[in-house]
Subunit: 343 residues, 2 copies
């Protein structure tokens, strides 16, 4: 078609592609406060900001219907978008859902999907206000847009971290990734011998973290009640290391995190070992945990230090000091961000 050599998307990677595409666009609307580049877009609504996030889940790429039950999938599709609203320190309000479905789906199957969507909408108190249902000639497609709100003085961008601020993370990490390994193994066992029933009871927590991700809006309400405003925030969808890199780059800083501070559930640890995986690698590069990573002013540390679901894992420092990982025996190593390869 063109005299140029064909260029591959894979050479740019997902973040490179987004940058490549978005740099051609300018914002002209006065109400646009923040476009592409954070967890969500920000629109000025006078007294407060509206925040908008959108995500698409495709069969065969983001989920495998051979082990993802449809109600869980519906729930997760809402939760991962709500998580982006939480990552701006916002409260979700409305959602739209577009689905593409092939005619191999029965009405009961669609009802099962929407049962999960409704369960999530009820739980996160968001109204389903619109969407598009269409047939798909290939796999199931779910595209969700969530709209939320946040007071102007409480919004948390990725770029707001300052030197010496402390780094916090909610919940525990690595569980969703290890849960995926469990599901993949059981699928292979089942494919080899369809009479075998999957043995998932002991992995219940891990499997749930993979299939039915929760957004941490609970934490957003709780830190608000504690009078704490994160100076920067991101949700951990690509893995702690990768998302910390985003926070560092957008804030123009480096960071140090400590191995012995990283929150990991016992079942994540034990199962990682069972699968010959390094538990800390699962924590750092696992992805899909949808926990929140945020920075706080040192003065705010006292307010959150007793919170059972917030761990202090390190601090921000000058960019020249790099992004470093301090091991239990006090070795300082450079952090590697692997993230997720979608291309």
């Amino acid at each position: 078609m063109s005299e140029d050599k064909r260029k591959e998307i894979a050479d740019l990677g997902e973040f490179g592609l987004i940058k490549h595409l978005s740099e051609k666009f300018d914002n002209v609307q006065e109400s646009t406060v923040k476009g592409i580049g954070d967890d969500a877009a920000v629109i000025d609504r006078g007294d407060y900001y509206e925040i908008i996030s959108t995500d698409m889940l495709l069969e065969g790429v983001h989920f495998d219907l051979s082990y993802a039950p449809l109600p869980h999938l519906g729930f997760k599709a809402i939760a991962v978008n709500v998580s982006d609203i939480a990552a701006m320190n916002g409260i979700p309000k409305q959602v739209t859902v577009n689905i593409g479905i092939s005619n191999r789906f029965s009405l009961q199957a669609i009802d099962a999907l929407y049962q999960g969507i409704k369960y999530a909408c009820d739980g996160y108190k968001v109204d389903l206000v619109g969407g598009d249902t269409t047939s798909s000639s290939s796999g199931l497609v779910i595209s969700v847009t969530v709209v939320g709100e946040v007071a102007k003085d409480k919004i948390a961008y990725r770029s707001g971290a300052k030197e010496s601020e402390i780094l916090c993370v909610t919940g525990d990490l690595g569980a969703a990734y290890v849960g995926l390994q469990v599901l993949e193994r059981e699928k292979q066992v089942f494919l080899a011998n369809p009479d075998m029933q999957p043995q998932l009871e002991q992995y219940d927590y891990l499997v749930r973290r993979q299939l039915r991700s929760e957004a941490r809006t609970d934490i957003i309400h709780e830190i608000r009640d504690l009078g704490v405003v994160p100076t920067s925030m991101i949700d951990i969808s690509d893995g702690l290391a990768s998302d910390l890199f985003h926070l560092c780059e957008q804030s123009g800083l480096g960071a140090a995190i400590y191995e012995d501070k990283l929150p990991i559930d016992k079942s994540t640890y034990d199962t990682a070992v069972e699968f010959n995986l390094d538990p800390i690698t699962c924590v750092l590069n696992g992805g899909e945990d949808y926990e929140l990573l945020f920075t706080l002013k040192q003065d705010d540390f006292e307010k959150v230090k007793k919170h059972p679901d917030i761990a202090t894992i390190g601090y921000m420092h000058k960019a020249e000091k790099g992004k470093v990982f301090v091991t239990k025996n006090e070795n300082v190593v450079e952090l590697q961000a692997q993230g997720w390869k979608h291309f």
Copy 2:
């Protein structure tokens, strides 16, 4: 799986499915003014309404890459959503775009798609503020959400028409459908003999109406300048008859439209005849024209009657009088709404 007999989505149809799914959802947020059921959702933003519309285009269902050039496709994906904002009498402001692309696409192909997206964003003055790019294991997927604004006293719902009000339509109808027939024929000719070059020059207008649909935001600005507020409005995506049915049902009325008032371009007429199609059927059931169908108070008729791009095609009457079509020789026949079958 279940003891119930499998139920097919096709038995419900697209509108039945939307109704079936949405009736399980309630709105709890104070700011939600209108959820599912109109061209767009409506959110209260204090001094004005925000309107949100979302649509998804799937390869093999909504477009055929063998004749849809990628820049046109990108343009159309934005335009069809902007059209839904126009149909609420609103002005589009921001847009998010999710795309799923397989690795058979080069970076140049993606750039071509975004060239059309940018052209539409520039033309409609909307900011691209977010989105998700992901790989697709099957075809190209484009899911767009547009956010717009409208003054509270100017919003036009489908349900606002009153008895005796006049029915207007913008532009001309049937062109996009006849354009699709031209493209399908040329594709078959090409498949039969790849050395044949498609002969599209004389069908230029029709092909453009199919591949590069425009949203009528121009009309929204113009009727505003004329001091006219439509009492109800819908965009013609499924065909005049089908969309008039929506307007009638939601307003609790019937309507009469006149054959000799229907706007049809000469090339639409001539080409329909060439294809052994009834031109009036193309106008009534064609679809994808993205023109606006709206009702006006009789007093406002004087203000629009000289507008070159607005045709008065009939009026609203009591529901008992039905939805009728008055032919040139004054036969009154019941309107049939065929619409588009997506399932």
